[in-house]
C-alpha cells in the first residue's frame, strides 16, 4: 500500500560529504607535491588561490581557497598573523597549527582525505596545509553575499509575521529556532546533486513527527541521483508519491510561521540551499485552502473566508464549463429574461460557446503570463490595454459575447483566491478538459469531469496520508480545522493524520468567566 515502512539507507543523517568521497591516494609527503595535487584539480579555475608562506618557526604552510568567497580579513587576522608572528609561541617542532587543541575556530574540519578537503574548499573553506603534517585543516572563512531577510511576497498577510525565508539555509534555520526553542526540534543535513552538492536540511519535531515518516523522507531523498538541485521543486518532484499527478502533493512556503506551525503538527519541513521556498510534507488537499492568517484572525471570520475560498475554487474550476453546458444543452434552466439577454449577446458571435470560451480562456492565460514578464513601468498600461480595450473591442467586433467576458474574468480572478499558487495553476489547467466534456455532453460531462477529478483525488496520497483527509477518509476530530476553524481554545488536539499519539495540543482549557469588573 504505502511505502512508509521501507528501511532508509544507512548513510542518511551523517554529513553526506563522506558519501561520495573515497580516500584518495596521497600525492606525496612534500608540501609542493600536495599543493600541486590541488592545483591540478582546480586547473583553469580562475578564482582558485594557492599561496605558500613560511611561519614563525621557519615551517612551510600552504593555503588553498576560492577568491571572492573567502573572507580575507578574517584569514589574515585569525590564521596568517598568528602563524607568522614571532610571539605566537611557535618555538617547538610541532608548532601551533599542528597543535590541534589550539585551533582557533571550533568548527574547523580536519581531514587526510584529499577529495573531502577539496569539497570543503569548493564550499568556500580555506585550506591550510602544513609541511610534514598529514592532516589538513579547513577553516570556515566563507563569506557569501546574501540577501537580507525580506517580507513575504507571495503569502501576504494583514496580521502576522512579515518575515520570509531567504536563500541561505542556515539563516532559515535560525528563523525556525527563534520560533521553536525546543530540543525536540531536530535538523538533519544531507547533500544532493553530483555537481551542485546542494545542502538539504530535513527538519522535524521529535516525539510529534512519526518516525516512519522521517525514515521515508530520508529514504526518498537518498534515492535522488541528479547532477544538480537548483530549487526545492527538483526535490519535490522526486519525493512525491504520484509524480505524474497534476496536483501538488507537497506544500511549499516562504513563511517561517507556516513552517513552524507545520512542524508543531508533526509534519516535516525540508530546506534546500539556494531557495527561499521550503517544502512541507505530508500535505492534504484542505491545507491548500488555509492561509496563515486564518489562525491569526477571529475564528468566525477565518471560517467564512475558508468557505469563500472553496466557493471560488469551484468557480475557478467550473464556471466556464457550467456556462457552456447551460447555454448549449440546458437553456431551460436559465430564467427567460436572462436567457433572452444571453441569446441577444451571443447572436452576432459566429462560434459555439465552447470555442468562444476556449479563445477567451487562452487569451486570458496569455495576458496573465505576459503580465508577469512585462516591465513594471509599462505593466499597468499594457494590462489595461490588454484586458479592457481588447475585451471591449472583441465584444464590439462580435468575436466574443459579453457574458463570456464576465465568466472568463470571474474565473481568472477566482483562481487567485486559492492561497496556494501551485494548486491555482492546477485548477487553471484541469479547467480545460472539463470544458471539453461540458461542451460535448452538457451537465453530464460536467458531472463526469467532477467525478473523475474527485476519483483522482481520493487515490492520491502524500507520504502515505490520504490526500482528501479528513474528508475522505472521514476524521471527525480533524474537521475542526478544515471546513471550519474553531477558536484556539477548542483546538485541543493536533490533526490526527500527521503526527503520533497522543495528539494533545492544549494542556488545560481556560474558562474565562467574562464577568464585568466593577
Amino acid at each position: 500500500m504505502f511505502s512508509l515502512f521501507r528501511k532508509p539507507k544507512a548513510n542518511i543523517g551523517k554529513a553526506a560529504k563522506t558519501a561520495e568521497s573515497t580516500v584518495q591516494p596521497a600525492p606525496g609527503k612534500e608540501l609542493g607535491q600536495r599543493l600541486q595535487w590541488f592545483q591540478e584539480k582546480l586547473d583553469k579555475c580562475v578564482d582558485a588561490v594557492f599561496r605558500t608562506f613560511t611561519g614563525a618557526g621557519g615551517r612551510q604552510y600552504a593555503l588553498v581557497f576560492l577568491g571572492g568567497i573567502a573572507d580575507l580579513e578574517l584569514l589574515q587576522e585569525d590564521l596568517i598573523n598568528p602563524l607568522t608572528s614571532e610571539d605566537s609561541g611557535d618555538k617547538t617542532a610541532a608548532g601551533p597549527a599542528a597543535d590541534f587543541s589550539r585551533l582557533l575556530i571550533t568548527s574547523c574540519n580536519v581531514s587526510v582525505d584529499y577529495a573531502e578537503v577539496l569539497q570543503y574548499v569548493l564550499e568556500g573553506a580555506v585550506l591550510l596545509i602544513i609541511d610534514g603534517e598529514d592532516r589538513m585543516i579547513c577553516y570556515p572563512y566563507a563569506r557569501f553575499e546574501k540577501r537580507s531577510i525580506g517580507e513575504a511576497q507571495n503569502e501576504v498577510v494583514i496580521r502576522g509575521s512579515r518575515e520570509a525565508f531567504v536563500e541561505e539555509v542556515r539563516t532559515n534555520v535560525t528563523m525556525l529556532r527563534r520560533r521553536i526553542k525546543s530540543p525536540e526540534l531536530k535538523i538533519q543535513s544531507t547533500y544532493i546533486g553530483r555537481h551542485t552538492r546542494t545542502e538539504v536540511l530535513v527538519i522535524y519535531m521529535e516525539g510529534i513527527c512519526r518516525p516512519e515518516l522521517i525514515e521515508e523522507v530520508h529514504h526518498r531523498l537518498s534515492k535522488i541521483e541528479i547532477d544538480g538541485v537548483l530549487e526545492s521543486s527538483y526535490l519535490e518532484e522526486f519525493i512525491e508519491d504520484h509524480p505524474y499527478s497534476p496536483f501538488p502533493q507537497i506544500q511549499n512556503t516562504e513563511r517561517p510561521d507556516t513552517a513552524a506551525a507545520a512542524l508543531l503538527e508533526g509534519r516535516i519541513v525540508i530546506f534546500t540551499d539556494g531557495t527561499p521556498i521550503a517544502l512541507i510534507a505530508p500535505v492534504t488537499f484542505p491545507v491548500f485552502f488555509q492561509s496563515p492568517e486564518d489562525y491569526y484572525q477571529r475564528s468566525y471570520a477565518s471560517t467564512w473566508i475558508r468557505w469563500i475560498r472553496v466557493l471560488f475554487m469551484f468557480v475557478s474550476l467550473l464556471a466556464p464549463s457550467f456556462y457552456i453546458a447551460l447555454t448549449t444543452y440546458h437553456p431551460e434552466m436559465i430564467p427567460a429574461s436572462l436567457l433572452f439577454s444571453i441569446a441577444a449577446a451571443r447572436e452576432p458571435v459566429p462560434f459555439p460557446a465552447l470555442f468562444e470560451a476556449f479563445i477567451m480562456e487562452i487569451v486570458f492565460e496569455g495576458l496573465r503570463e505576459a503580465s508577469i514578464r512585462i516591465p513594471s513601468a509599462i505593466g499597468q498600461a499594457v494590462s489595461i490595454l490588454g484586458t479592457l480595450v481588447i475585451g471591449e473591442a472583441a465584444v464590439r467586433a462580435g468575436i466574443v459575447s459579453s457574458p463570456m467576458v464576465i465568466i472568463v474574468s470571474l474565473t481568472g480572478i477566482s483562481s487567485f483566491i486559492v492561497p496556494s499558487y501551485s494548486l491555482g495553476l492546477t485548477l487553471r489547467l484541469i479547467r480545460f478538459p472539463i470544458m471539453i466534456l461540458s461542451g460535448s455532453f452538457g451537465l453530464l460531462g460536467l458531472s463526469i469531469g467532477i467525478y473523475l477529478v474527485l476519483l483522482h483525488l481520493v487515490v492520491l496520497s502524500s507520504f502515505g496520508v490520504p490526500y482528501l483527509a479528513p474528508i475522505a477518509p472521514l476524521k471527525w476530530k480533524d474537521i475542526k480545522d478544515t471546513v471550519i476553524r474553531v477558536p484556539w481554545r477548542l483546538m485541543k488536539n493536533r490533526p490526527s493524520v500527521y503526527g503520533i499519539e497522543p495528539t494533545r495540543r492544549l494542556k488545560t482549557i481556560l474558562h474565562n468567566d467574562g464577568d464585568d469588573r466593577d
Binding site: 444543452y329 434552466m333 458531472s447 463526469i448 476519483l455 482528501l468 474528508i471 472521514l474
Partner: protein, 366 residues
C-alpha cells in the same frame, strides 16, 4: 488490504442501495403497490437485509479470503465455479441494467440528439477507471458523495415543501391496505436491498473490527429513509395512478420546483449530483464481479480485467432492451424473481457449511 472502515461501509451501502432505486424504481413500485408502496419498501428493506446478513454470515466463515476462493472449500470446485460465474454474470447484468437506466434517462431528458453508444462509452470509461482505482477509492468516493447527497436533501427539503402536496392522501397509506399489492411490492423491493449482498465479495477488504450486522442495518435504514424521502412526496404530488405511469416521477416532481425564479428548473442540476452516485453503484457491482473473476482465473491482479469487463457492460447495456418501455417491463415483471434467485445463492453455501461443520470454509490440512 483491510481498508474500509465501518462508517465508509455504511455510506457505501447507502449510496449503493438508494442511488438507482430512488431514481428509476419508484415508478414500478408505485405501479405495483400503489398506496402500499411505503409499506412494501419497508418490508422489502427488512427482507433484503436478511439476504445481506446471510451473505455476510458466509463471508465471515473465512474473513481473510475472497468468497470466489473459499467457496470451493464449502461446496466443491465443480459446483462453486458455475455458481460464481452465475453470480458474476448477475452482477454484470445488474450493472448493465443500471447503466441502461442512466443512458435512457439522459437521452430522454437531457441529451436527445447524442447517440446512446457515445453516452454508454463515457459512462463505461468512468466505471472502468473507478474499478481500476480499487475498492479503497470506491469507499472514499462514497463518503464524499454521501455528504453531498445529504447536503442536497437538507437544502431541497424546504424547497420541496413549497410544492403543493395532497397530504390527505397520507391516510390512504393505512386505509388502502391490500395484501396482494403489498406482497407484489415487497417482492419488487426486496432485491433492491438484497443487492447489497455484494458485500460478500469485498469482505476481505473490510477492517476486521467491523460489526457487519450493525453496518448493514444502518446502511439499509439510511437508504430506506432516502428512498422514502423521494417516494412519498412523489406519491403525494401525483397520486399512484399518474406516478405509476410516469417513467421518472421523482424528476417530474423536482422539475416543478422553483428557486425564487432564479433557476427555472432544477432537474439538470440534480442530475450532476445524482450521476456520480449511480456511477459508484455500477462500479461496485463491476468491481465485485471483476475481483471474483480474477480469483477464479487465478490472476494476481484484477486490474487488466477492469477495462475489458467494463467494455462488456457497455455493450450489454446498449443492447439490453429495445426501448425504455421494454426495460421498465423487464424490471417490473422478470428482474425481481431473477435477482432473488441469484441473491439467495450464498444461503446455499451457508447451509452446506453448517452441515459440514466448523472449518468448512478453509482448505483441508494436508
Amino acid at each position: 488490504m483491510k481498508h474500509i472502515s465501518a462508517s465508509q461501509l455504511v455510506m457505501l451501502l447507502t449510496i449503493y442501495i438508494y442511488s438507482e432505486n430512488a431514481g428509476f424504481l419508484i415508478s414500478p413500485i408505485i405501479k405495483t403497490a400503489s398506496y402500499n408502496a411505503v409499506l412494501a419498501v419497508i418490508l422489502g428493506g427488512v427482507l433484503g437485509l436478511l439476504i445481506v446478513l446471510a451473505g455476510a454470515a458466509v463471508a465471515r466463515m473465512n474473513e481473510r479470503e475472497y468468497f470466489a476462493v473459499f467457496g470451493k472449500y464449502i461446496v466443491g470446485k465443480w459446483v462453486h465455479i458455475p455458481l460464481i460465474l452465475l453470480l458474476a454474470g448477475y452482477m454484470l447484468h445488474r450493472a448493465s441494467m443500471s447503466m441502461r437506466n442512466v443512458e435512457d434517462f439522459l437521452m430522454v431528458n437531457h441529451l436527445p440528439t447524442t447517440p446512446e453508444t457515445v453516452i454508454a462509452i463515457l459512462l463505461g470509461l468512468t466505471v472502468a477507471l473507478t474499478v481500476r482505482s480499487g475498492i479503497q477509492a470506491i469507499a472514499r468516493m462514497a463518503e464524499v458523495i454521501f455528504f453531498v447527497n445529504l447536503l442536497l436533501l437538507i437544502i431541497l427539503t424546504p424547497l420541496l415543501l413549497g410544492i403543493e402536496l395532497q397530504t390527505p392522501m397520507l391516510r390512504a397509506f393505512v386505509t388502502n391496505f391490500d395484501l396482494n399489492r403489498t406482497a407484489a411490492g415487497t417482492l419488487q423491493a426486496t432485491p433492491w436491498f438484497g443487492d447489497a449482498f455484494v458485500v460478500l465479495f469485498i469482505y476481505p477488504h473490510l477492517k476486521q473490527q467491523i460489526k457487519i450486522r450493525r453496518v448493514a442495518v444502518w446502511g439499509a435504514v439510511f437508504s430506506m429513509i432516502l428512498i422514502l424521502s423521494y417516494l412519498v412526496p412523489s406519491l403525494l404530488a401525483f397520486g399512484p395512478e399518474l406516478a405509476g405511469k410516469m417513467t421518472y416521477p421523482v424528476m417530474e416532481y423536482v422539475r416543478s420546483m422553483r428557486i425564487a425564479d432564479f433557476i427555472e428548473t432544477l432537474d439538470p442540476f440534480l442530475t450532476i449530483l445524482y450521476i456520480p452516485a449511480l456511477m459508484l453503484k455500477i462500479s461496485l457491482l463491476v468491481y465485485a464481479a471483476v475481483i471474483s473473476l480474477a480469483r477464479i482465473l487465478s490472476l494476481h491482479d484484477y486490474k487488466p480485467l477492469a477495462f475489458s469487463v467494463s467494455a462488456a457492460v457497455v455493450g450489454y447495456s446498449v443492447h439490453f432492451a429495445d426501448n425504455t418501455a421494454e426495460l421498465l417491463y423487464f424490471m417490473t415483471a422478470y428482474w425481481p424473481s431473477y435477482a432473488l434467485c441469484m441473491q439467495l445463492i450464498p444461503i446455499l453455501y451457508w447451509f452446506v457449511a453448517k452441515i459440514r461443520g466448523k472449518g468448512a470454509a478453509h482448505p483441508k490440512a494436508p
